[in-house]
Amino acid sequence: MTRALISHAPLGDTSLPNVDMSTSLGGFHLPAPILTASGCAAAGRELDQFFDITTIGGIVTKSVMLNPRSGRATPRMAETPSGMLNSIGLQGPGIDRFLEHDLAWLEERGARVVVSIAGGTVDEFGKLAARLRTARSIGAIEVNISCPNVEDRGQVFACRAGTAAEVVNAVRRHSDPRMPLFAKLSPDVTDIVEITDAVVRAGATGVSVINTVLGMVIDTDTMRPHLAGVTGGLSGPAIRPVAVRCIWQIRQAFRDLPIIGMGGVRSGIDALELVLAGADAVSVGTAVFHDPSAPIRIQQELQRALGSRGFARFRDAVSFAHRPVDTRTEVDDEFDFITE
């Protein structure tokens, strides 16, 4: 497919400041820190029409399961204030077709790839990890633990430390020991640090935060739930403060844990906020539905935002908001302000 010329987001923009944008996710080196978010970029092919997908950090593919899956009935989506609710039900081709069709294309295209996997049982996660073992072009695996556990009344794995750890442990055991594993955490928990601790002990290299926030919309004309699946995942700018809070809390507890941040990022400044909170890389999701070239635009905006704040390296901005407060200076500033 040939790519479009994007009039408002020129590629190879010469006005970009000189900032080293490279980052690392537990040994997976990225030349730039912006990734797509799982479920918002399919397997990269559609977005490659709008920008060169090899120029962003990488593509996080839509969660793949062992078998083909139809997903849920429609309606699957509702627009909400500064966000959207979705209940797709992990529609997908299954791992075999994913490997031969989607991953093969990404490999040929030369994109850096994070494969997201999802399962209904712990065993399914293990089998998926085993299937990915022979694939050479995968930089990291993201484990979507926000799926209902069929063996436990549909309770979501991510919501309890024990089940979250079981899944990660199964994936770890069946994966190449050097493969970076990221557990994608749900914000719908009482203590996200406790869940992080559990998945790290179970072998996760790092965490992806946050998955969507569980929500619901009722259609006031039909006076019934709007989504066929009744509840859905809320995403978009509405949830960004929740993402910032979760990243912050995890970074406070784990100084060096690799974190992929996501949740409502639609500009470079939004991405910077997650980086300052502790994200080593940032996934762009729902913003793609508003602007299909959002990932490259946001990456360039982030580079400008870093440059204008005097950062020579992206890495230096990671967790920068956690730096100790220099009390004296800030008090002085305040005095100056008051006396004027």
């Binding site: 497919m1 040939t2 479009a4 010329l5 994007i6 009039s7 408002h8 479920g39 918002c40 970029a41 399919a42 559609e46 977005l47 029409q49 709008f50 839509k62 078998n67 083909p68 899956r69 139809s70 997903g71 849920r72 009935a73 429609t74 309606p75 699957r76 989506m77 627009e79 204030p81 500064s82 966000g83 959207m84 979705n86 797709i88 039900g89 529609q91 997908g92 299954g94 209904g120 209902p148 069929v150 549909g154 066929a228 978009g236 700018p237 639609r266 500009s267 729902t286 913003a287 793609v288 539905f289 508003h290 602007d291 299909p292 070239s293």
Partner: protein, 284 residues
Amino acid sequence: MVVQVKGQILDVRRAGSYYVMSLTAPGISENARPGHFVTLGIGGAETSMVLRRAFAIHQVQSRGVYGGTLDIVVSVHGKGTQWLVDRRRHDPIDIVGPLGRPFVLPKEAVSTVLVGGGYGSAPLFMLAEQLRERGCRVDVLLGAGTEEKLFGALELKRLASTLTITTDDGSLGHRGRVTDLLAGVMDSSDAAVVYACGPMAMLQRVAQIAASRQAYSQCAVEEAMACGIGVCMTCVLPVIGEDGVTRMLRSCTEGPVFRGDRVRWADIGTVPADTLGAPTGGGH
């Protein structure tokens, strides 16, 4: 080729219950075929409306003072479409297109019938012109709830051998539904293909009537979309493939035009049990 361009509003004008908007869309209008659609980013950069809005391409001019331009027909349903029709001349607008699979045109000069429900007639103008250029006979049926909700009757009259109008309230044309009269129109022109765009219930009936007369039907669906480019998986409906297997297909990239005999119209809004990968008992 699909492109994202920064276009401009050229004109917004009323047409009955609807608005016709002309936009500059360089790189899109040149490649647009009947049945293609565009999506527009709405509300500006800081908008609370995060999803694009999709519109069938109504007309295109590939050259002119403004380069490529296109027309869409907007029915105001909510805040997003209201924002759109409130735009003024020269306001910028982010456009992605041409999207989707267009109508398939017959190789031979056969008789065709075009059926439009409400502003579903919007993509039928370009189609009628191109069918005429191929020497096809074109008969048109337009239906809507009321006269104000009919779109483009005068212009279509110029392009069609016959134009039949129905309204639910009888305010113009025959009282009733377009599908009440479709069989008669098809029989009198010996139609080989029916093209339709409108509500699902209308499309379902059109597909049935076409099949009963051994004619092909090409139906453009309108499903709620989030992305319009094939990534979000919200706009799916059950469609039977060449292999006889039902899959949940995206109306944005595998449609919006489907063969009427392939869509499981009665099952839209559900996942039929025999769909590839359908949920099995007990699971999610």
